[in-house]
Symmetry: none
Subunit: 217 residues, 2 copies
């Protein structure tokens, strides 16, 4: 049972900052056709609120405490494949964007976008279209992405093992010693993992490994 009216789009807002939520709410409701029917301040509550209100669009920030926002996306989509989820966050890393779409998001908009771009993105995903802000399109274009599923699916067993140890804090030498490989090989894997995942930085690799559950922090 959707709460959508003949002329409106119902929205569930998920963000951990109350005043940010309230600000969004006012911006969205001033549009006339957008109605915020519920809010949640963490990923765990997001699914409950989704079930209770069956909104047309879920607008959520993926950088929240507790369970990852990606987790929330998967959670919602697993049970309600027709759910439309618009990620709205300050991050603009290619890996994160790909993970979000891979997890089932319909759109990805950064907080640096103009409010008009955000509300238009909401309308787009409500129509079942894919939406993303200009800067995100740019990031993805640069990344010249390959059509894949989860980021980890592109990695071989060895690559994942090395990524795990690397993200755990081990040095290249330690990994080589532990796996009985030459340092050069580990270096090559390191490079290969970065190219495959699109991570441009070791820090991005660690974050990627963490969001995929490869390592805990």
């Amino acid at each position: 049972m959707s709460e959508v009216t003949a002329t409106g789009i119902s929205v569930l807002l998920v963000d951990d900052h109350p005043i940010v939520r309230q600000g969004y709410r006012r911006v969205l409701e001033s549009q006339g056709d957008l109605h915020v029917v519920a809010e949640a301040d963490n990923a765990a509550d997001a699914y409950g609120a989704f079930k209770a209100h069956d909104p047309d669009v879920v607008v959520l920030d993926i950088s929240m405490p507790g369970a990852s926002g990606l987790e929330a996306i998967r959670n919602i989509r697993a049970r309600s494949p027709r759910a439309r989820i618009l990620v709205f966050t300050m991050h603009n890393e290619a890996v994160l964007v790909k993970s979000a779409f891979g997890a089932g998001a319909s759109g990805f908009v950064t907080k640096s976008s103009e409010p008009s771009a955000v509300v238009n993105a909401i309308r787009s995903v409500a129509r079942g279209e894919r939406a993303m802000s200009d800067d995100i399109a740019h990031v993805l274009a640069e990344d010249s992405l390959s059509p894949t599923g989860s980021v980890l699916d592109q990695l071989g067993e060895r690559e994942i093992e090395i990524l795990r140890q690397f993200a755990g804090g081990s040095t290249t030498e330690e990994i080589a010693a532990h796996l009985n490989l030459s340092v050069k090989t580990v270096q090559n894997y390191h490079y290969l993992i970065k190219s495959k995942t699109g991570a441009r930085t070791d820090a991005q690799l660690v974050r990627l490994a963490a969001t995929c559950g490869l390592t805990r922090i």
Copy 2:
């Protein structure tokens, strides 16, 4: 020349996210006594806007591209010691809070606070009082009791800012560009941070930053 009316408090909003600014504006203006007279989306413009509008209170997010928000605080206070500045950010690290007050802020409120707490904080600093949200008070209290300071206490303010951006996934060049520093300086900070914290790996650095709440994964 203050733009304050007999019954109102004029506010300058500084935040790099347009829709967040717009949301704040609506929340504040719905209060009746608060009037947003100007906005700025970076620290550099903040002082210009301050001079032009002489607001009663500056509400600013310290995590912005360009010059650090702390820099903006010092900038404004140096020229207008009676300026009231309320820091409004998602960060709640004790070191950061102390730095902000040290730089001349009158208040520090996190984005996890209730909107009512935020507007009350604005009224408090407008009256010349010091204000902080409950969670900030809690963090400061815990910090003053802990015998072993956080690892971050060994780091200077610039070092913390660079660590935050690095852990967030930014490259050395990007950080240098954001902060208007030479790449060499950022590299030196990177090295210095590793020595001070004892991290032997970039991954360890990211984990450290995450456990200290400097970045979220």
